[in-house]
Amino acid sequence: MSARFIVGDRVRVRQAYPPGHVRTPYYVRGKEGVVSRMIAEHPNPEERAYGRDGLPPVPVYRVLFRQNDLWQDYQGPEGDTTELDIQEHWLGPLEEDGG
């Protein structure tokens, strides 16, 4: 599988609430961020949690979010950020939906 995004791409996290062993925290769903680093492909933990092999492996990215985009009433300087690892199927380009 080839990676869909590159470092610097603006992305939006899917706003979806599937059941199961999901590693995308609620607080970033529907939020926009920037791809900051590529991480190697990994077997999908959403599948592996149920005894399946999680293949093919899924590209994982580090995505950087501005705190002010995550929290409407963030009490801190403009520049503060949160960075986390997100699997490719949880990301879409910024234009794709309105969040």
């Binding site: 925290p25 503060d80 950020t81 997100i86």
Partner: protein, 213 residues
């Protein structure tokens, strides 16, 4: 639980009882862990000694391993570059076993202060920092660090100036994180071992910075 008692006949007041570990509630999960472990041993997937050996190895890890790497990185810029690229491989150079889960080191600079959390569970770079402190696993730390990091840092006695970016790393997926702290001023004459002695667990989690005063 042991009986309330006094140690000395002349001193009639008993001290409060300390609960034994069995006095805590036995949760369903604890029963399940014991049952699964017994089954795996009965079915000879591994032996009781294998399990004990593994637990002992996990318990023997300590922040000293991470601290050695930080001190080495401060003194050797090439090593630091390799560590920022691949912590596990860099650890191997120093004969430190960093485990199989990839660890990413993030570097504090004069412009960025990094701090780690795992909001979903309690992921932690155990191979380099040992077992996590209880507060790292608490709901309060896990939910508040992403929401109000500066308030949480302040409770640890750490005030980050407003012109320094606070960057929270949430260990949600495949990586574990550790912080590469800034080398404090006035340490130019110190050797690697002395430098490693300055590097604490909490500064590699990022809830504090190294202060020599």
């Amino acid at each position: 639980m042991s009986e309330t008692h006094s140690h000395d006949d002349d001193w009639p007041y008993p001290h409060p009882q300390q609960p034994d570990i069995e006095d805590g509630p036995l949760t369903e999960l604890m029963i399940m862990i014991d049952a699964v472990a017994e089954l795996l041993i009965d079915k000879e997937v591994f032996s009781a000694d294998d399990m004990r050996r593994t637990l002992e190895a996990i318990d023997s890890k300590s922040p000293a391993e991470g601290a050695r790497m930080v001190a080495h990185a401060w003194l050797d810029p090439d090593f630091k570059a390799r560590m920022l690229e691949d912590v596990n491989a860099a650890a191997e150079e120093m004969s430190i076993d960093a485990g199989t889960i990839p660890i990413l080191a993030v570097e504090n600079t004069k412009d960025i202060h990094n701090v780690i959390v795992c909001t979903l569970c309690s992921c932690y770079p155990k191979y380099l920092l040992g077992l996590p402190p209880d507060w790292y696993k608490s709901r309060a730390y896990r939910s508040r660090l992403v929401r109000e990091p500066r308030a949480v840092l302040k409770e640890f006695g750490t005030e980050i100036p407003d012109d320094v970016e606070v960057r929270v790393h949430d260990s949600t997926a495949e990586l574990r994180y550790m912080i590469l702290p800034m080398r404090p001023k006035g340490t130019e004459d110190m050797d690697e071992e002395a430098l490693a002695g300055l590097v604490t667990r909490d500064c590699m989690i990022g809830v504090t910075v190294i202060d020599r005063d």
